[in-house]
């Protein structure tokens, strides 16, 4: 990770003590975007998986990353909460500015970032030894909250926001694994939401679910965006068209085109985009 010089000569405080909201720093032309991805490159060993990605995500929107297998969309998304570098041999360079703070700056600990940028994975991964309640509360307890009332309130609210509360409210003590696949995924979403993230990354969240479960998740995504900025990776184009406001199309590690979902699907500017949209290649 390089120390990029700040060409705007702005002093910004990256002290951990400061909550992200009270930034004194104002980086020009970035502050109207929630997430600004600048010249991001990602490697697995010597193989470069994503090349020079530049993309800005607006607050309270749903942005979809689409593209064929291997295009780098999952890699990119995992760079946004610094999970990419956890794979042995993997690294990322560039800047990802969230609320004016470059999360790749040397002074930032990824542990702090990941609380504010939540993630939901392809296969639901609730903690098998914990109950439904404990699963949702897991993040809170980890981060040091131990006020029981607050935890109970947040758990209930998160389960409601994940459209799961009514189904489980009377069985919160049941093991998390006793739920169906779709419910487990909503449980994982509730678990992520409990930490009040500002950005929620979703990596192909419905690809292991049946159509009914998938549609519930899609409904959820649309309802969540008022509070959370959502970035969703999907290999299902129709899903992208259904849930997102903006869409980014990637191919072989490059960002080919990015724009409003309407524009991408109705009037794609690049030929590659057009071919992908019309199903000319997987």
């Amino acid at each position: 990770m390089h120390n990029y010089s700040n060409s705007h000569n702005v002093k910004y405080q990256l002290a951990i003590e400061e909550p992200l909201e009270h930034k004194e720093a104002v980086v020009e032309s970035i502050d109207k975007y929630k997430v600004s991805i600048q010249n991001v490159n990602g490697w697995f060993g010597t193989k470069r998986a994503i090349k020079d990605i530049n993309l800005n995500v607006k607050e309270r929107t749903v942005t979809a990353f689409i593209g064929p297998s291997g295009c780098g969309k999952t890699t990119l998304v995992r760079c946004l909460n610094r999970m990419h570098e956890m794979t042995p041999g993997a690294r990322a360079e560039g800047r990802v500015i969230v609320d004016g703070v470059n999360i790749y700056d040397k002074s930032i600990d990824p542990v702090i970032i990941r609380r504010r940028i939540g993630m939901v994975f392809q296969k639901p991964n609730p903690f098998p030894t914990m109950s439904i309640f404990e699963n949702v509360a897991a993040g809170l307890k980890l981060n040091g909250i131990n006020n029981k009332t607050i935890i109970r309130e947040i758990v209930e609210e998160s389960l409601r926001n994940a459209a799961l509360w009514d189904e489980v409210k009377n069985q919160l003590e049941q093991p998390g694994m006793s739920l169906s696949g779709g419910q487990q995924q909503r449980l994982c979403i509730a678990r992520a939401l409990a930490l009040q993230p500002e950005v929620l990354l979703m990596d192909e969240p419905t690809s292991s679910l049946d159509p009914f479960g998938s549609s519930k998740i899609e409904e959820l995504v649309r309802s969540l965006k008022d509070n959370v900025t959502i970035i969703i990776v999907t290999h299902n184009m129709q899903q992208a068209a259904r849930v997102s406001d903006f869409t980014a199309f990637m191919y072989l590690g490059d960002l080919i085109e990015y724009g409003s979902t309407n524009q991408i699907f109705m009037k794609p500017e690049k030929e590659l985009t057009e071919r992908y949209i019309s199903g000319k290649f997987g």
Binding site: N81, P88, V111, R115, F127, P128, L142, N143
Partner: protein, 306 residues
């Protein structure tokens, strides 16, 4: 023809187990008919002709206490090593390290005994026992006796070293089975590395870790030659340890010490009876341990295939 041969070999295993049970029972019949089941809780050890009286209790206690010390010291260390190799160290450090811990298992216990007797006991005496004695012997019964290095404490420590390879390698094995998606779930909630291990790995493999511990216990309980060289070798009621620095005796160490000089058939029978008690103890521990570890590995691979 071939399959007959092969089948026959399998029968051999069962035969061996039967042989073990038979020998041990046959050998101990004499003492049990002489003293009855009370043998197990008596404390005398008097082989003198005409006044024979034997009791296994002090040695059962000695075995349990020395093994308990070995567990208390060895299990946390083994777990820490397993966590380091499996969760913290990069593979190019982890692989040679696990090889090195395996080397510890390859050292014959007679050589552990030699080293413990001539080298290690002085370290223990001077670096651990004397300071503890000086500081606490007035108040805590644990440290009451004057330490000179050959006691159940030293035996316990060296036993701890001996069980490290087996406990840590099984801990590592069960931890390896934890799917990475679990760890990622914890990290994505903003957990530190230790918190991830604590929340995503340990609960997942709890019974496997317990199983590993019990396998270590089985090893510690059965160890003979090392113990007999450093535990101090006392017999009779005085062999029940009253402090960490007491001399002691375990079931296996007494058998090793007295077998060749047993003065009568009854004496020999008493020794073999100690062996039977040891056998039952070890078998129970190992069976429970294997069940726990097998269950863990099975459940995990079952869950993974979902």
């Amino acid at each position: 023809m071939f399959s007959f041969l092969v089948f026959g070999a399998a029968v051999y295993t069962l035969l061996m187990v039967g042989l073990v049970a038979y020998s041990v029972v046959k050998g101990s019949i004499d003492i049990f008919s002489y003293e009855g089941i009370g043998f197990v809780i008596q404390t005398n050890w008097n082989p003198v002709e005409g006044r024979e009286s034997f009791g296994a209790l002090p040695y059962i206690v000695g075995t349990l206490i020395s093994s308990a010390i070995a567990m208390a010291i060895g299990v946390p260390i083994s777990l820490a090593i397993a966590v380091f190799i499996s969760e913290i160290a990069p593979p190019r450090i982890g692989t040679p390290l696990s090889f090195i811990t395996e080397l510890l298992a390859a050292v014959p216990s007679i050589i552990y005994g030699l080293w413990a007797l001539f080298v290690f006991r002085f370290w223990v005496r001077d670096l651990i026992e004397k300071p503890l004695y000086d500081a606490f012997h007035g108040y805590l019964p644990f440290f009451a006796k004057t330490p000179f290095g050959l006691d159940i404490f030293t035996a316990g420590i060296v036993l701890a070293i001996m069980i490290i390879p087996i406990v840590s390698s099984i801990c590592r094995e069960v931890m390896r089975v934890v799917p990475n998606s679990q760890r990622e779930a914890a990290y994505s909630l903003g957990a530190t590395r230790w918190e991830t291990v604590r929340v995503a790995v340990f609960p997942y493999v709890k019974s496997g870790l317990v199983g590993a511990t019990m396998l270590g216990l089985g090893r510690a309980v059965g160890e003979t030659i090392l113990v007999t060289m450093v535990i101090g070798n006392v017999i009779g009621p005085g062999a029940i340890p009253t402090s960490l620095f007491s001399q002691g005796q375990t079931l296996s160490s007494l058998i090793a010490n007295e077998f060749n000089e047993a003065s009568s058939d009854l004496h020999l029978s008493a020794l073999i009876a100690l062996g039977m008690i040891l056998l039952i103890l070890t078998m129970a521990i190992n069976i429970v341990a294997r069940l726990l570890v097998k269950k863990k590995v099975k459940v995990s691979s079952g869950a993974k295939s979902e």
